[in-house]
Symmetry: C2
Subunit: 356 residues, 2 copies
Amino acid sequence: MGKIAFEQNQHPKQKPDQSKLGFGKHFTDHMFIMDYTDGKGWHDARIVPYAPIALEPSSMVFHYGQAVFEGLKAYKTSDNEILLFRPDKNMERLNKSNDRLSIPAIDEEFMIEAIKELVRVDADWIPVEEGTSLYIRPFIIATEPFLGVHASHNYMFIVILSPVGAYYAEGIQPVKINVESHYVRAVRGGMGSAKTAGNYAASLRAQVEAQESGYSQVLWLDGIEKKYIEEVGSMNVFFKVNGEVLTPELNGSILDGVTRNSIIALLKSWNVPVVERRVSIEELFEAHANGTLEEAFGTGTAAVISPIGELNWDDKNIVINEGNIGELSQRLYDTVTGIQRGTLADTLGWTVKVEK
Amino acid sequence: MGKIAFEQNQHPKQKPDQSKLGFGKHFTDHMFIMDYTDGKGWHDARIVPYAPIALEPSSMVFHYGQAVFEGLKAYKTSDNEILLFRPDKNMERLNKSNDRLSIPAIDEEFMIEAIKELVRVDADWIPVEEGTSLYIRPFIIATEPFLGVHASHNYMFIVILSPVGAYYAEGIQPVKINVESHYVRAVRGGMGSAKTAGNYAASLRAQVEAQESGYSQVLWLDGIEKKYIEEVGSMNVFFKVNGEVLTPELNGSILDGVTRNSIIALLKSWNVPVVERRVSIEELFEAHANGTLEEAFGTGTAAVISPIGELNWDDKNIVINEGNIGELSQRLYDTVTGIQRGTLADTLGWTVKVEK
Ligand SMILES: Cc1ncc(COP(=O)(O)O)c(C=O)c1O
Ligand SMILES: Cc1ncc(COP(=O)(O)O)c(C=O)c1O
């Protein structure tokens, strides 16, 4: 591995209007690439102009979905410093995903250095307007040109960068969510705790149907009993019931979210009771019925905190906190984004500076 | 859609030695491609030189695994005719996979014509030695350059061809199979009945572990109770118990195999009792204990019939039919391959001729 080669993009693009970024539509001028070859390991780390990649049509990723990814963000502070939020957590999780998918491990420290280097190269692309950031997408794909199911002998590790605004068109506005009782995303013994392409493919159909009925996301139930809450499309979920914050425990079929982990740590530091356990959908609907379901929100890198304003479960529909963002949700959002942007003290040591 | 454009490969490759083909390693001189754009539908059908394809690194297939595929074969008969085996079944299944993955449907008739045309163009690549054939791999990948989980607005449909020998190194020799009791491949409500990339990604880890213990494949159990037999890596399974042939019913989490369907039809035409129902692994081990488990085999396009010589389930191990191919398994193999190669009468109307 060692040094990172660099090839400057001679044709930089025009940067998009910061007030109309959307999410995941624009990409910067460079990308990081590194190859894996059996026997040789990861090699040829390089930063090159952002461009299409050429792959054999028989590349295993197209056929057998051996692919993992991560998502994290870089922020520019008011004094022009660049901060990453807990990149060590993302690289640790990437290696867990690699392990589940039989993809060779990466060197976590080196990858953080590579990400920093790439962010430095494209630093001018980091937007500064309220609610914006630079989304970082590391991903690994199986590239061996072979038909037949086995773990690939070749891979590409790529990092691309996208200046982003809000993930949901609604922004911090509460979202309407449908509880899915037919389709299943992941099950115990499956690959639900890995950040791998197939889990998202498995979610599409339910997502399409939910949107057709006016919901922006799906809340998944466990695949065995269809009773216990798992997570939302790309967020973990939290519910404040009678002063206590509940979130599904890490059971092997949901993602160990970095935002989830941070929210739990913050709540503990504030002495707000927070419990990780199995949470049934029935329990939540009962809590709503007796007036103790106070707040509900999703957590994830893209949206940070996304309040849940409405939950639909078969023919039952509940509105949470009159469809408004809750007080605790707002405080969590303000605190996490404040730490991420360097406007609040980073008491938990989460941000990592990208030196100039 | 309409006409298929054609660009001849000016640099044809040397053809591989027919006695050393292996499976899925060699590709012919041309491929078929067709694009999908929202609003425009499938368009620009073309046969072009086989070559790498250039994709944006943000193409959705790399991140969210929205991809489906098929697998079928072309055979050259002793009088130089080219036969496809039940291509209508594959195209029908492809559209079922498309539906589950929220990918737009394809025109099945047109695709059979396109496959025929491609096979005609590369007809010289069809091997003729015993046990060889031309494997046909149609696949669809999501190509929209976008980060964020939704159904893609752009796709590519590609067909590639590979001259192949035996799928298993063992050939028609019985294989040793491990019954997987920890990992799960697919579950009711998931995407197990679709031929989609993520299902194979989900199977890799167990496959790697089985191979390390000396088994060539994994036999999956249901994801809910871990009691009922599902299928093998890329084959459906059959068990002959006390004169009756049992195979797991189509329960939504296994693939509706074309070979499975053909085997059931053949057995019925021979008046051999065949039953599709839930089959527990315990039942099979009991049948073995009382001497009624007579034969076991997997079925799939790649291997056609693959006898199971040994089954391992946790710490229990059984040898079936003394590790030899059973009489019925052999008869089924001979009949199906005979029909496929045109040496036996195609009484069930399964083969489709590729006119010159
Ligand atoms: C399935 C899923 N759950 C939860 C999350 C939240 O994880 P994180 O907070 O690390 O972004 C994500 C993604 O980002 C996800 O894809
Ligand atoms: C998971 C799985 N099951 C069964 C089969 C057998 O299906 P077919 O007979 O159509 O080839 C295949 C593949 O080919 C498969 O991938």
